[in-house]
Amino acid sequence: QVLFFGFGWLFFMRKLFKDYEVRQYVVQVIFSVTFAFSCTMFELIIFEILGVLNSSSRYFHWKLNLCVILLILVFMVPFYIGYFVVSNIRLLHRQKLLFACVLWLTFMYFFWKLGDPFPILSPKHGILSIEQLISRVGVIGVTLMALLSGFGAVNCPYTYMSYFLRNVTDADILALERRLLQTMDMIVSKKKRIAVAHRTMFQRGEVHNKPTGFWGMIKSVTTSVSGSENLSLIQQEVDALEELSRQLFLETADLHATKERIEYSKTFQGKYFNVLGYFFSIYCVWKIFMATINIVFDRVGKTDPVTRGIEITVNYLGIQFDVKFWSQHISFILVGIIIVTSIRGLLITLTKFFYAISSSKSSNVIVLLLAQIMGMYFVSSVLLIRMSMPPEYRIIITEVLGELQFNFYHRWFDVIFLVSALSSILFLYLAHKQAPEKHMAL
């Protein structure tokens, strides 16, 4: 466990905060703690399958882990988020604590309300029981997971497959760069005119500072009015040109990135990833297909894919498999792979996201948000992993997590997954169409 804590700490220091100083150590600690506990959850799952440790001590560890994670997720993190958000707004410096508490209370309220429309309340338990909290966290987490994986499923094939790469030649890039520089020059010359006009007005203004009397003042007003009209026209042109230059810059950056990817794909490593990309895209398509089927036929998978796959092979090919033995190992490997890739994918995505929107002001808030998202993601993936495991191992999870409507979760996940996949397909299609058009218009 200490290992994981250390790992989380290291990761935090190196990757996330490469460019900024770490201000509050509390943030760091919280993030690492969240990470550590999430990893221990997965560790426990693996132990499950391997059969290490005593059954009762495992149970105990599970409970403990869950309690701590939930505590952190639901209480501490939102509180700190509220605190930091408030301290960022300069106006409310005085009563930071008060406002943070208020924010936290609103958060708890919404959190509770969230549970109402979903069929997860069971009248047997009280209000603050673990099941309630888990159910709510689970709902949010599952939604998040489905969104992310839907988008990822579509994005992956798009990025990896070189089929989609447009051909970019050096001449294109040069032409675009020249246009960019031309635009910059135009902006510069216009700004020069404005600066000169400002300066002459300033000098003339100084001259006119002496009280010249009534007529003199009226004259100065009329001349300066005509001058400033001219100026505002130029200023508008400058604004338009600046907008254009920004667009051109972004396009150039895009072209450079595409060119780099083309070069990368010609190398050996690139080819290897390309092949992987094909496999992965097939997997994604299959997942989407399965999700559609699940919804259309209103069916929830009872057996996991591995066992079913083995059953199919046994039935069709008539090979004598020792089903139990093999399914155990294969499922272990699969679960391991799923866990590792999902953790890795999550961390990478979070890092990219963090780079894209961080600034020195809000970095604390963002890190906390990320910690929260990560915690929810892990909790819900535990829920969902249950679907991919053979029935013997589901027992303990069902035991620990109490009476939750698992079927509901699976259904909900499929729905959101499908929705996000479809919308991201639409989005990417539009973006892809737009880019060659812009290219042609040059």
């Binding site: 490469k18 460019d19 900024y20 100083e21 760069e177 960019l180 520089l181 910059m184 902006i187 510069v188 700004k191 020069k192 005119r193 404005i194 600066a195 000169v196 300066r199 002459t200 600046e242 230059s245 920004r246 051109l248 810059f249 972004l250 150039t252 950056a253 450079h256 990135a257 060119k259 780099e260 780079y355 600034s359 020195s360």
Partner: protein, 216 residues
């Protein structure tokens, strides 16, 4: 009046250190009201009187090219930015006084900008490490500006200022520390303003007067 000579100065630094505010302050003499991220490059122009107060006074345009500093060191972004580095005459390096890493990144920035201009006989440092000898040889004047001075509490000021003094020495450059939201720091006659106009004079000299051979 539109036919004045021009000089190009780059303003470089990490994202969020205050380059756009600085440029706005220098050129419009006003504080920038709503700073937002610079995508690509934004240019502003300042009219500078070279050798003010002497009979050789001449007015020049100084173009301050403020290159957006966001995104990491992906090579594609570097090569996109590189299009702005042509025909440089001077560099202003901006770092944030409240953020140590931004001053360390200045070495990277200066190498990136200067490597574009290295003549074929120059030595290219390809691993990106800082090499002082390369700077000794450098013809392009540099100025180091530290921003957000107001956000450092009085107690820590000395320590921060000594650190930045070392930084400026490394670059063989002058340094100015200020706060971009307060025009008082660049008021005419203050030592900061003097350093600034000395820097601009140096840039103009290197561009126009040494080109005519070493007669001046």
């Amino acid at each position: 009046m539109a036919a004045l000579d021009r000089v190009k100065v780059l303003v470089l630094g990490d994202s969020g250190v205050g380059k756009s505010s600085l440029v706005h302050l220098l050129c419009q003499n006003q504080v920038l009201g709503n700073p937002s991220w610079t995508v690509g490059c934004s240019v502003d122009v300042r009219i500078h009187d070279y050798k003010e107060g002497t009979p050789e006074e001449k007015t020049y345009y100084i173009e301050l090219w403020d290159v957006g500093g966001s995104v990491g060191s992906a090579t594609s972004v570097k090569s996109t930015r590189a299009v702005f580095y042509n025909l440089l005459n001077g560099i202003i390096l901006v770092h944030d006084l409240t953020n140590k890493k931004s001053s360390q990144n200045l070495y990277r920035w200066s190498l990136e900008a200067l490597n574009r201009d290295v003549a074929p006989t120059g030595v290219l440092v390809t691993n990106g490490d800082y090499d002082r000898e390369q700077f000794a040889d450098n013809q392009i004047p540099l100025l180091v500006i530290g921003t957000k001075l107001d956000q450092i509490p009085e107690t820590k000021r000395n320590e921060v200022l000594t650190r930045t003094a070392f930084l400026a020495e490394d670059f063989n450059a002058e340094e100015i520390n200020l706060d971009c939201t307060n025009p008082r720091y660049l008021a005419a006659g203050s030592s900061n303003a003097v350093k600034l106009s000395r820097f601009f004079d140096k840039v103009i000299e290197k561009r126009y007067f040494l080109r005519d051979g070493n007669q001046v």
